[in-house]
Structure formats: structure tokens, C-alpha cells
Symmetry: C2
Subunit: 322 residues, 2 copies
């Protein structure tokens, strides 16, 4: 039984492919940002996302409130990518031995802050002892016009919301022992799930959409695989933050490559039909308060062709298993 | 803002009380087995439950398939306790460095086995690296007649499904380096969520219900607190497995106490109205294939009075934070 939403490359995705093969009909819709459940007249979108200490964050980098916010925002971003509006979330938190009660409360204040900021509530949770912090967040939302990863068609154009690269800039600053800029730090610590942007795009004809949790390089391959199309992406046209441009210079990497290979931006990648052009993107920006930038096209074929300075470039996605 | 469903004692529950206080209206329905979400005509029940290596299980005790099954069954048990029927679940799994790909697949085979056995599917999931195994399972079901913890009334009778104590018997055998009996091992490794029993009880007037994940001693206090009543429970009347009676003998504890203080039984505790008696319990047993045993009564007041051999007894719940 193949995945309903085929995935791009990477060890995590090989594991998911194998799980889907073994579970067969018992796991029919793995591979999209959200699962869709139809209950009477409503279509509900659900997704789960776990954030683990020393894998996704370090306590030296983030406060407990930020750890909780970031974990919730990452899961809520999957609702945005489906064009869904949040109802709420559940959070299962494992608490290391040295944690104080106030740390646990702060984690959940962050979780609560992220979900109430987009109109949802904390529906439930679970607390357990554990060796390190982990925050597994499951979100549920309403998707009146669900947008999967699977609808892109040759001739569509590709767009991204917001600006890319700031989360990677923060991460690289911490990793070399520096202090990130306030803007880069905020992008990593308190990302904004693009809920209003996602529902706007769903209402305006989005054919396929996902969020850039693992970075454009890896995530674009998932959209291509699920839609059974090829993508051509011009890295020179990516919207990149000043922090990321500076950090790319420090690292000696072209900014377009730096931004495409960095994870955790939680912006949306969306395929829109040919009739969608710059006037519609300008209207999106006015109504959602976020940029929408054309970065490429959908073609017949498969895989993703990245170009930088007129030359083809092979890119690697961001993989927490590496 | 007090919890909608007040909780009994214990450090985990003190933490939940504090989280609910801080989140206020952003977390309005914490404290029940499930959160209820109303979507068009449907009432959906959701719950999340995390199972952590070296806290809830050891890999020396269980196979990967059993670890997955048990984690899923524990979460599904919360649907049973709400009188809900499963739609499916999402599983966020953290994978330790030494794990093989086949272990990850086996965990998810166990998760899938538990949910397909009760008519649901694996809707989604997330994989992450981590220091140890953890499996955070979020379940969603339909609750046409939801039963919370909050409806017990003085004059109701208290009942439990199945037989108690086998999971504790297995746990104590492992802890002293012994091999548990096959029956005790199966009770711990592959518990059966009481879905059919829960929906039967919901249809037959159940006023308040929860599952005995933390053991009768602790969980009965939650039902009393949420319903704002007192409970009187006769430990001599508890249904106890032969393994648990033997293990209680080894430990030098009265079997009723051994069973009430042991967690992980995943049986249901239910308050039923005065008209529900032994004939109805016999019918339950015929239709659900599980015993239903009267163990006490609901009174005006608060807290839980346990009696053993005609004498009052103070009991402690099973707390993973100890």
C-alpha cells in the first residue's frame, strides 16, 4: 500500500514509508501536514508534533515559556498548512528530574499563549516524569477548504509566505557560542503559525500547501512527491531576513542556499493556479500583513530543481535524525 | 478559575491545578478523561497520554510491539472512560540513538494493532530523535452520550469492570527480578481498552466514569472530587485476579489493598443510578463479555472512605512522579 501522500527523501521519511507499508489500511492518510476527519458536516484537521530537549532546542537557549510556545506553534503551523482554523490542542509533557513546578507551569503558559493567540484553547494534556523535557502537541482545527500537499499542477506558480532564514541564523549563532540578534532569536523562540495566511490561501484557490518546518530544500520535495509533479525553484528569489544574509556571509554560504537548507521557519510553501499573480499577492500582503513571494513554478516530472545564479544546485533538507 | 473537573490529591494533580489556574479561560475543561469538542452535529472526545521508557515501562520487560500497544491502549482507555467510540489516533514517538529502524516500525505496529482492534486507524504521527523511547498518543473518538467524571450523585452505586491487580503483579515480579505469569504479563503488556463496555454503560445511564490508569485508590478520589460527592468502597468486594492475590500474599499485603493501590489496570470505575442492580450487571457481562462488580456507594460529602475487613483504611494512589 503506497502512502496517500508520498514523501521526499530522508531517514525519518524512510521510516514513515515503512510504517505506512506495514500498517496498510490501518494508516491510510499518513504523509500530509494534517489528517482529515469527517464528523457529520464538519471536516476536522489533526496533527501531532513533538519537540525534544537537546534535539529541537536547548534550555540554555530558551526559557520554559518559549519552549512551550515554540512546540505549540510548530504543531499549529501544520493546521495553517492545511488551511485550517484552530479549535485547540492537547500537550503531553515529560518533565526532567531537576525541573521545578514553576518550570512546568511556564511550559504550559507558553503552549497556552501560542494557541490562544490564534483563537484556540488548551483542551487537555498529560504530565509524566522523563529524562529530559519533551512537549508533544496535538492540534485540532476546522478545515472548511482543506489544502493537502497533493494538488499542485504543471503551470502553477510557487510562493512562500514571510521571510526565511532567521531561525537558522539564531541556531548557528548559539552553536558557535554567540548571542543571536533579537529578531533572529524571536523567529526561533516564538514563531507565528500562519493561520490567517493559510485560510486566506485556501479561500483563494491554493492547490497544494505545506509548512517549512524542515526547510524549503526538504519540504519542497514532499510537495513535489505528494503532487506527483516537478518543481523549479529560483533560490535568488527567496525572501531572506537581514540576519540570515549576515549569517550566510559569516558561514560563507550563498544566502539563498542558507535559507533553503535551514529548518524551523514555519512559513508556508503554496502552489497557486496560473491566474494568481502579483496583484493577488499584493492583496494577500495587505489583508494578512505578511509578504507572499513568487519563488518558482510547477512542472511535469518529479523532484525539485534548485537554481542559484543561473546554475543548478543540489540541496539537503534539515533532518533532526542526522 | 477552578478546574471544571476538580482532581484528587498527588503532585501531578497539584501541577495540573496550577496550570489550570494560570491558563484560566484558555484551558477551560482540564481534569476529565477526555476533552469534548462540538463540531456541527458531532461531539468528539480527545485525550493525550504519554508513555515513557524507564517511567512507564522498561525495554527489558516489553517488546517494541508491546510498548506501542500499551501506549495506545492507555490513551484509548480514556475514550472508553468517556463512553466514546474511537475514530483514530496520532502517535509522536521519540527514538533513542541505539534503536534500529525495525524497532520503530514495531512500536507503530503495536500502536496500530491496539487501535484497529477497537475499530480506529492511525491518523498521523511524528518521529523524533530522543534520549529514550517515549510514545505520546492522542486519541479522537465520537461520544454520542459523553460520560464525564462529574455526574455521580448520592445514592448511586459504584462498579468496576473486569478484574484488578494483574498489572501490578507483573510489575512487582519484574522489579524483584522474577518472571511474571503469562496472564499477569499480558495484562500489563497488552491491556484491552474497554470501549464496548464504556459505550454500553453510557447507553445504560452511567452518571460518572473514569478509567483506573493510576489505580482505584487515586482515581476514585478524582471521581469524588469532580462529582463533589463522597465515595464508600469495600475493598473486600474488589474483583481481583489470581495472580494479584498470590502477589499480594508474597508482598504481605491484603489483596484488596494490593489491587486498589496498583496502577495500569485500565478497567472502568462507574457510578450508576439506584435502578441499576445485579440483573443489569449480569446483562452487561453477557453483552460485553466482561465482569461488572459492585464495590461501593456514592454519598453526600467528599473524599473516599475505603473499608477492609470492616475497618477504615487510608490508601495511596499510584504516582509516576514519586
Amino acid at each position: 500500500v503506497p502512502l496517500t501522500f508520498p514523501l521526499g527523501g530522508g531517514r525519518e521519511f524512510d521510516r514513515i514509508r515503512e510504517i505506512a507499508r506495514v500498517l496498510g489500511a490501518g494508516a491510510a492518510q499518513l504523509g500530509d501536514d494534517c489528517a482529515l476527519v469527517h464528523a457529520d458536516g464538519a471536516t476536522l484537521a489533526l496533527s501531532t508534533d513533538v519537540s525534544v530537549e537537546n534535539v529541537h532546542f536547548r534550555t540554555e537557549w530558551l526559557s520554559c515559556t518559549e519552549i512551550g510556545w515554540r512546540a505549540a506553534a510548530g504543531a499549529l503551523s501544520d493546521l495553517a498548512a492545511e488551511g485550517a482554523e484552530p479549535i485547540g490542542l492537547l500537550a503531553a509533557v515529560t518533565v526532567p528530574p531537576a525541573a521545578r513546578d514553576a518550570d512546568v507551569t511556564a511550559i504550559m503558559e507558553g503552549v497556552g499563549g501560542a494557541v490562544t493567540a490564534v483563537g484556540g484553547t488548551v483542551l487537555g494534556g498529560d504530565l509524566s516524569a522523563g529524562g529530559a523535557w519533551s512537549v508533544a502537541v496535538t492540534v485540532i482545527g476546522r478545515a472548511s477548504i482543506p489544502v493537502t500537499r497533493a494538488g499542485a499542477q504543471p503551470g502553477d506558480s510557487l510562493w512562500v509566505t514571510g521571510v526565511l532564514g532567521a531561525a537558522r541564523a539564531a541556531l548557528e549563532a548559539w552553536r558557535r557560542g554567540d548571542v543571536p540578534t533579537a529578531a533572529a532569536r524571536a523567529a526561533f523562540a516564538q514563531p507565528t503559525p500562519r493561520i490567517a495566511a493559510g485560510t486566506w490561501l485556501a479561500r483563494h484557490g491554493a492547490r497544494a500547501m505545506l509548512d517549512l518546518s524542515d526547510g524549503l530544500a526538504g519540504d519542497a520535495a514532499h510537495l513535489a512527491a505528494a503532487s506527483r509533479v516537478g518543481l523549479a525553484i529560483a533560490l535568488d528569489s527567496l525572501p531572506i531576513t537581514a540576519d540570515a544574509i549576515a549569517a550566510a556571509g559569516t558561514a560563507g554560504i550563498a544566502p539563498g542556499r542558507f535559507a533553503a537548507e535551514g529548518g524551523e521557519d514555519y512559513e508556508l510553501l503554496v502552489a497557486l493556479p496560473p491566474a494568481f499573480g502579483q496583484p493577488e499577492a499584493d492583496r494577500f500582503r495587505r489583508e494578512c500583513g505578511v509578504a507572499l513571494t513568487g519563488i518558482g513554478t510547477v512542472e511535469a516530472g518529479q523532484g525539485v530543481r534548485f537554481e542559484l545564479g543561473g546554475r543548478a544546485l543540489a540541496l539537503e533538507g534539515f533532518d533532526h535524525f542526522r
